[in-house]
Symmetry: C2
Subunit: 123 residues, 2 copies
């Protein structure tokens, strides 16, 4: 099993990639057959290709991210974070709690993002 | 599906029951065939009877709880909270992130608690 420190490091890398990386950088943190459900209740994306396509919007906008808190237990992390997206003249702030599972190599095997428009502000 | 408001209300009731209720009060918020994994990575408890037994320690200690933040999406809630337990001359503080799913009647169908001893202080 990946260690808690390894898992925390990947959470940090993930937030860095969402902020400053490309969709390919983010997708590279996922296992080949990973699943992504964002937000929870929508149809999961399956596989790294579909996951990279999900993050493609990243390539067109400026994001900053900030980790608020992270918990790790077994192969699972839950973390509360802030992502601020500047798109044209809009600034969108979302503060989800994401839940991720990891394989033995600390690749993300699943991601579930728990948030709704209640947790989003547009300025 | 239970509404986000219903789900937030049950999260609040859950924390109230952990603080001031009995193990039976807490277990009553769960569906009959619910599962509980606390912390994640341990063997899940299955069914309300096993779940009530898990909370039996509540009946012997003084707890206070505080919701730090909650997110709801679809049938799922994730919430960061603090539980302070006074047991004899020890005060134990834990700040987990719990993930719960809910049925149409807003009964808890699964609970997974993500925390480790890193998130616990004993004073």
């Amino acid at each position: 099993m990946a260690s808690a420190d390894d898992i925390r490091a990947i959470v940090s890398k993930y937030l860095d990639a969402v902020a400053g990386g490309t969709s390919a950088d983010v997708a590279a943190l996922y296992a080949e057959d990973a699943t992504l459900e964002d937000p929870v209740g929508t149809e999961p994306k399956v596989g790294r290709e579909a996951i990279q396509a999900f993050y493609a919007a990243l390539d067109a906008v400026d994001n900053t991210t900030e980790l608020i808190t992270v918990r790790v237990s077994g192969n699972t992390a839950a973390f509360h974070f802030r992502v601020v997206t500047v798109a044209g003249d809009k600034t969108i702030t979302i503060e989800p709690i994401d839940v991720m599972t990891f394989d033995d190599q600390a690749r993300i095997t699943s991601m579930r993002a728990i948030w709704s428009t209640d947790d989003m502000t547009v300025a």
